[in-house]
């Protein structure tokens, strides 16, 4: 299986190339700003500080979910920038629901998860309907819906907030203790949220659906050639709606590990910006279930080390943002370079093998 080996080689070459480019460019930025380059990379190569390792894993799981949500869209050339809005609306709805404690214990969790997926899907569904019926670009509508989500959530939060004396924090009612999801692993310095397991489950489901089902085939076909997909009988409108709903449903899960593991309510202090990071993670992971995992870990690791950067290397933590930004650019460039290179090599190899009389048919 020569070609399998080559494919793996190609898959690994691109991210390595991208990381190398990012390291070089960031070093240049550091030098230009008059900072020492050595200590910075030393920080990145050192073991994370106490409690940071757990945070990295938690962060990675959440980013992974967000990355998969974006990747579902990417797989058929839909650019769902709206994951950010979708997960916030969903997390708010789920927190509000779970906070009421209508269902006992674990059922409450399940109910909230289902609700989160439904709300996320519904919010993404608006984008799909606009695109399919009115031809509105999903990029535009999803950005706008992000803003609308911000407004809607803060207004509703204000309406339903569980106000506490002496605190100016606004948040939903706390989830009853019986519905807290126990940690997957408890360490001296922190915990790994129970619901990070969602990332694993979603990852497996994504891999299976994309590669082993007819739906996944239609999705990939539409992504790689819409005209060929249409001619093969795929209804692009139906696919657009389905893919968007699925993307939104996964986006709805993004806020869940944090909600049921640590925050227990949704409020003004909840984490934001995960949807945009998901776009970067999906790009780095090239929409591949394992690749996205790698991208999520890398992203979370860089986030996790940013504090140490300030303390141990005396460099502003924003440097991490520069590294992340450069890395996304480098990844996009590196993948395109490797893709073209691979295409040329393959064409040449096929021509050469045919010239040598090696064919798969019996006629050779």
């Amino acid at each position: 299986m020569n070609s399998t080996l080559r494919r793996i080689g190609v898959a690994v070459a691109a991210p390595l190339l991208a990381i190398a480019i990012a390291v070089v460019l960031t070093s240049i930025v550091l030098l230009a700003l008059g900072n020492a380059v050595g200590p910075v990379w030393q920080v990145f190569l050192s073991t994370p500080m106490q409690g940071v390792a757990e945070a990295i894993v938690n962060d990675a799981a959440v980013l992974y979910l967000s990355g998969i949500a974006v990747a579902i869209g990417f797989r058929m050339n839909l650019f769902n920038i709206g994951v950010d809005g979708q997960y916030r609306v969903a997390a708010f709805a789920a927190a509000l629901f779970a906070g009421q404690g209508w269902l006992p214990g674990f059922l409450n969790v399940i109910g909230a998860l289902v609700l989160a997926m439904l709300v996320g899907a519904a919010w993404a569904g608006i984008i799909a309907v606009l695109k399919v019926t009115r031809g509105v670009s999903e990029v535009i509508s999803s950005i706008m819906l992000n803003s609308i989500a911000t407004g809607v959530v803060s207004w509703l939060l204000f309406k339903v907030a569980d106000k506490q004396e002496g605190s100016n924090a606004t948040n939903t009612k706390n989830i009853p203790e019986s519905s807290h999801v126990p940690a997957l692993a408890q360490t001296a310095t922190g915990q790994i949220f129970g619901l990070t397991i969602l990332a694993v489950l979603v990852g497996i489901a994504y891999w299976y659906v994309i590669n082993h089902t007819r739906f996944g085939f239609d999705l990939r076909a539409t992504g790689s050639s819409e005209s060929a997909a249409v001619a093969s009988g795929v209804s692009v409108k139906k696919m657009t709606i389905t893919a968007m709903l699925l993307s939104g449903a996964v986006a709805g899960l993004v806020g869940m590990p944090q909600l049921f593991g640590q925050d227990f309510n949704y409020g003004s202090n909840s984490q934001t910006g995960l949807g945009f990071a998901g776009i970067a993670v999906a790009l780095i992971g090239r929409n591949h279930p394992i690749g996205i995992g790698f991208g999520a870990l890398l992203w979370a690791y860089l986030n996790g080390q940013s504090n140490a950067l300030q303390i141990n290397a005396g460099v502003n933590a924003s440097l991490v943002n520069i590294i992340q930004g450069v890395m996304v650019l480098a990844v996009v460039i590196a993948y395109e370079l490797v893709r073209r290179w691979d295409k040329r090599i393959e064409a040449r190899r096929v021509a050469a093998e045919l010239a040598a009389g090696k064919t798969a048919g019996a006629t050779a």
């Binding site: 070609s3 393959e346 006629t363």
Partner: protein
Amino acid sequence: MCVIDTTDTPEAPTGVSGIAVADVTAPPSGALAVDLDGITKRFPGVVANKDLHLQVARGTIHAIVGENGAGKSTLMKILYGVQKPDEGTIRINGDEVSFSSPKDAIKAGVGMVFQHFMLADNLTVLENVVLGAEKLHGIGSKARDEIKRISDAYGLDVRPEMMVADLGVGARQRVEILKVLYRGAKILILDEPTAVLVPQEVDELFGNLKEMKSEGLTVLFISHKLDEVRGVADDITVIRRGTTIDRVKSSSVTSKQLAELMVGSQLPTPETQESTVTDRVVMQITDVTLADPAGGPALLSDLDLTIHAGEVLGIAGVEGNGQAELVETILGMRRADAGTVVVENDDITAWPTRRIRENGIGYIPEDRHRHALLLGAPLWENRMLGHQRQEPASKGWRLTPKAAKDDTQRIVEAYDVRTPSIDVTAGSLSGGNQQKLIFGREMSHAPRVLVAAHPTRGVDVGAQSAIWDHIKDARREGLAVLLISADLDELIGLSDTIRVILRGKLSGEFDPKTVTAEQLGAAMTGANTPENATTVDAQEEAAR
């Protein structure tokens, strides 16, 4: 191989080696505007151009003729800097040049008008012309004056303030030509300029070209319409299989001789054997009408068509007269505004594409890259495309890659698809092998009707004859075949019945045994004599 002006039927032997044409070797008089020497261009798996020579005298109109896939377009792209030759030299006005982009070519005075216009509909002519060339004469009155000056100088009749959306095809083409002249081109390349024009517009265009010639410009144009070529060109270069066959003076060659030069003698003929037509109707299209969503004349109007089991029905026509729309309507990718498409006992008019393809309509699309293949996916995934819901691609909602791979291997062997493995991407195969794979795929699902649009376009001669054999086999097995082609020899050779499509309407039936390419050509351009047309209609009436 759109040989209109020849009475040659494919049955007649086309002996080419002994053909005597004057001025074959004499160099053109006057200074050379373009001199290509020993151009070779290889693409993975194919040699597009091989040791090609082209000499064009300044101030002349030079035509390049050759079949589809002969390498004309690659040659023009090399001359316009879109592609770099692997070997050989390019001289423009005597100076050796090396273009790495069209920008370089324009700088050297070489401009190209593509077959597909590149104009923005919602801008005016002036805006379209200055777009990207703002530095030359600005975007205001100076530019307007320059456009008027060029338009008057060559009789182009282009009005700068018109919206491009309001222009017809001929006028758009003149805008494209003006765009190139505006940028200072002295050597003009036109890629199949007449393919989209009606006869009157063709005459106008040729008038413009002659005007340009008299002003000292050099015009190079690609065509495969031999009578047109002879009418306007001074010299003709014939290309076959990527290499120059001959250069001839248009005044000293007949269309028949040109056709023989173009086709060569090695070309297999597509003729079928004895008739296998039965009286069982397989496909019946009744009064199909398709309105133009943009509000123009109907794309298809009251189209009637019957195909019997074992019959190949050929549709001839100049491109853009409704062929693509007809195919897409049959396949459910467009919805007919009126009329029905019935296959055996199924009225498939309102069926979705998927159901149509799964119920016995095999589809060989005109543009296999856009409609039949996922170029970046392996062959076995391409085997599934279009038949995702059927075995061996899937069972229920699950894909069955193992079965698909086995069946792909079978197709590769049975249809002689030359590939080192079924895991390579479809994009890495040559056009002919891609087409054989598509053919094998469609034939694997027991089609009742095969819709084949330009099945041998852009494939090499070997694959061409293989595909013709497959069509003949399909016919013998009792399939109804709808064959759409621009290649009249292919149509005449393979079809049991030929009909001509013109502006969305079908002509009466022609018998391929007796019809000449000239008659078909006349019907294709609407130059049909009234008597002729009535006879055909009368025949049809009588047949009903």
